[in-house]
């Protein structure tokens, strides 16, 4: 028979491997669930099916599209090919302005309406979200 020490060591190694496998599984699983994908208005037009997951939409705030009342702010995000209406009732960052880049996070209602739960802050007037930059360059 194997000695007590060998058994203990074997047990220890199995324990560590199990813990490792479990934590990797956990991390990957929650990555899958909690990741937010980024899309441009054009990509949304071409979506085949709608999923109930949170996404980000980036583009420019269309000129003369912002309207506001006590409860919500409505505006249009455009990538100069397609556009999408955004309904938002939250805080807006300082640099939210017509004709400037914007990234909104939230859920799609249908191909034309987006319920935003967050508008991302930017820190600097020259800064453009990389997603927006890429979306504009594609144009």
């Amino acid at each position: 028979m194997y000695g007590r020490k060998v058994k203990l060591r074997f047990f220890f190694i199995v324990l560590i491997l199990t813990i490792l496998a479990l934590s990797i599984y956990l991390v990957l699983k929650s990555l899958e669930e909690n990741v937010v994908y980024f899309q441009s208005p054009s990509e949304i037009k071409n979506i085949a099916e709608f999923k109930e997951t949170k996404i980000r939409i980036g583009g420019m705030v269309k000129k003369d599209s912002v309207s506001i009342n006590m409860n919500e702010i409505n505006f249009i995000i455009t990538d100069f090919k397609n556009e999408i209406n955004v309904i938002y009732s939250g805080a807006v960052p300082n640099l939210f302005e017509e004709g400037k880049g914007v990234v909104a996070e939230g859920f799609l209602k249908d191909r034309n309406f987006f319920m935003a739960s967050k508008i991302l802050a930017k820190h600097d007037e020259n800064y453009m979200p990389p997603e927006v930059k890429a979306a504009l360059e594609e144009k």
Binding site: V35, E72, P93, H123
Partner: protein, 625 residues
């Protein structure tokens, strides 16, 4: 002129590195006594880099726009304080600050390590010089802060207004002291490995350096966090943003190191682990610098999107990692003579268990930060990983983590037992009951929150008891652990009991809800030194009839022309009332965000307590005797 002097002293300073390396190698081979010329040259190098840094500061104060860095980041109307802090509020200047701290720390190390073996001191200096040379090359080649522009512009481009803030003015230097402090640990661990000097003596000598960088890193992160809280206007203090994560990762590694070095000092165990941690702390600091500076992560920290700079840091980083792996695998020997057996119930076991948890937290953050970058490179799919990911993966594991943290200090080194400790059990019951009472009527996940709160209370009560029972014995540890329990408690209650209202109001309108009314009274104009501001006046009446007036501000800076919103925050011991306002496309409506954040001040105070614990530990021998 000052920037000319700055440039030449920087160039001169870099050439000194070769002298230092030359004399060090000579001394390493021949002599048993530390060559005083090396000390002299190290001091001279420190002096030259300081002069260079001072030259840059003076150029900033004088608004010398012939200097490109000054032109890009300063403006004549900027207040003096922010002219000075603008020196390190940009890529070039902040690298010069890195270099200054690098040379300062190695000089201090040489002075302070006189009781250590000569060879070890020299080798540490050599490893540190490798890093210093790397930074010199980087500064002089691709990010010189002293570039000249002609014709000389009349006016500078100004500093990003959200950086014009007292907390953020001192945030970089403090954080750098922590980051760069870890370079000493790195060099010293490598040299001790080469010389087979990883021992109790080494541990008790390097412990001070570990503590110092840990304290500064803690305070640096705290400052950044406080700034984000009141300046970014979201009312949170941690967003799990990649740039925040890259400062948290070295902190976690360093915190683990603080504990392991104790185990090494007391029992000569965990030698390889301590070396690995020392290496990873500095590597993670460098990784942070790389991710932030290369423009891969876009944020307020990204000063320049210059691929060349990113590439340089990347190559430098990989050479350092390669160097350290080489040293570790070829020179590291486990000392087999020492009794390294570990018993299940002992202080070292608890340290090791929580080490595992810390490494788990670290890998979660690492994956969450790096995964989106890799995915974009591989599949060009763009994703972001947000707070839910981290909360879900970290919060549940804080429960066993805090349990071990509460019991660990009660155990003895080598072998211990849990007899006669009924109070441990009673305290646990009390904490559990208390948290059930608090949580049961709330609409949140009962099991997770109750366990989290009760374990935090458990740690809280046990450490509180230690203040009275243990008096000065282990005071530093008690304070730090007490601070941590307070930190977790305040975060939990802050999260659970936060109220937030977001609405759009015109002047004169009132927002009404069951809990309170917010009345937008009026708007006033004010003039600052380099900005105009609009101040809104809001009267908030809560359901108990208590009236409070808050005055958030919108600042329109002249150069660069940027609007920032300044939150108005009223703080007391129980809660913060936080309000920001924002214009939307110059319409009549203002976007208002009002929050009541309970125990906000305790989050800051608890982090200060944690840092105080580290600070006291530096003087442990003095006050215990």
């Amino acid at each position: 002129m000052p920037s000319l002097i700055g440039f030449y002293s920087l160039a001169l300073g870099s050439s000194l590195s070769f002298l230092i390396i030359f004399f060090s190698i000579k001394n390493f081979r021949n002599s048993k006594i530390f060559d005083s010329r090396i000390i002299f040259f190290s001091f001279l190098q420190l002096l030259l880099v300081s002069i260079s840094f001072l030259g840059l500061i003076i150029s900033f104060i004088n608004s010398d726009f012939s200097n490109e860095t000054v032109f890009n980041h300063s403006h004549t109307t900027k207040p003096l304080f922010y002219k000075i802090s603008g020196t390190w509020g940009n890529h070039e200047g902040s690298l010069l600050l890195w270099l200054l701290v690098l040379t300062l720390f190695i000089f201090l190390f040489i002075i302070k390590s006189q009781r250590q073996p000569t060879q070890y001191r020299i080798l540490t200096l050599l490893f540190q010089q490798v890093i210093i040379v790397g930074f010199f090359v980087f500064l002089l080649k691709s990010s010189s802060p002293f570039n000249y522009i002609f014709p000389i512009p009349q006016e500078g481009l100004g500093l990003n207004p959200i950086l014009q803030d007292p907390a953020l003015a001192i945030h970089p230097p403090i954080l750098y002291l922590g980051y760069v402090g870890s370079s000493i640990i790195f060099s010293s661990a490598l040299s001790a490995t080469c010389l087979n000097y990883i021992s109790k003596e080494w541990a008790s000598h390097i412990k001070q350096w570990v503590l110092i960088s840990w304290i500064f890193l803690t305070l640096g992160i705290l400052l950044g966090s406080i700034w984000a809280y009141y300046e970014l206007g979201w009312g949170g203090f941690w967003f799990w943003d990649p740039v925040e994560n890259v400062s948290l990762m070295p902190w976690l590694a360093l915190t683990t190191l603080v504990h392991c070095i104790l185990a090494l000092e007391k029992r000569s165990i965990l030698t390889s682990w301590v070396v690995v941690l020392s290496i990873s702390t500095f590597t993670l600091s460098m990784c942070g610098t790389f991710l932030v500076r290369s423009g891969i992560l876009n944020s307020v920290h990204t000063f320049a999107n210059d691929p060349e700079r990113g590439l340089f840091i990347l190559i430098f980083l990989f050479s350092l990692i390669f160097l350290s792996l080489f040293v570790f695998f070829f020179f590291h020997k486990e000392n087999r003579k020492i009794d390294s057996s570990i018993f299940l119930i002992s202080k070292e076991t608890s340290i090791i268990i929580n080490n595992w948890f810390m490494m788990y937290f670290l890998s979660v953050i690492l994956i969450g930060t790096v995964y989106p970058i890799f995915l974009e490179v591989i599949s060009s799919e763009k994703i972001s990983v947000g707070p839910p990911f981290y909360n879900k993966l970290i919060a549940p594991f804080l429960i066993p983590f805090m349990f071990v943290m509460a019991l660990g200090p009660k155990l003895k080194w080598i072998k211990s037992d849990i007899k006669n400790k009924i109070y441990l059990f009673i305290f646990f019951l009390i904490s559990l009951l208390l948290s059930i009472l608090i949580i049961k009527n709330l609409e949140i996940n009962f099991l997770l929150n109750t366990l989290l709160v009760s374990l935090a209370f458990y740690l809280f009560f046990l450490t509180l008891r230690d203040f009275f029972v243990m008096k000065y014995k282990n005071l530093s540890q008690t304070i730090a652990h007490f601070g941590f329990s307070l930190f977790i408690l305040s975060i939990l209650f802050n999260n659970i009991f936060t109220t937030e209202i977001i609405t759009n109001l015109k002047v004169g309108e009132t927002y009404t809800s069951q809990k309170f009314n917010i009345k937008f009274e009026n708007l006033n104009q004010k003039q600052g030194q380099n900005f105009k501001s609009i101040v809104g006046k809001f009267t908030i009446v809560n359901s108990k009839g208590k009236i409070e007036t808050l005055e958030p501000e919108l600042r329109i800076y002249n150069q660069p022309n940027i609007t920032t919103s300044e939150a108005d925050i009223r703080t007391n011991l129980l809660s913060d009332r936080f309000i920001t306002m924002n214009t939307v496309q110059n319409k009549d409506y203002f976007n208002i965000r009002y929050q009541i954040k309970p125990f906000m001040i305790w989050i800051w105070l608890s982090i200060l307590l944690i840092a105080t614990g580290g600070f006291l530990s530096l003087f442990k021998k003095k006050y215990e005797n």
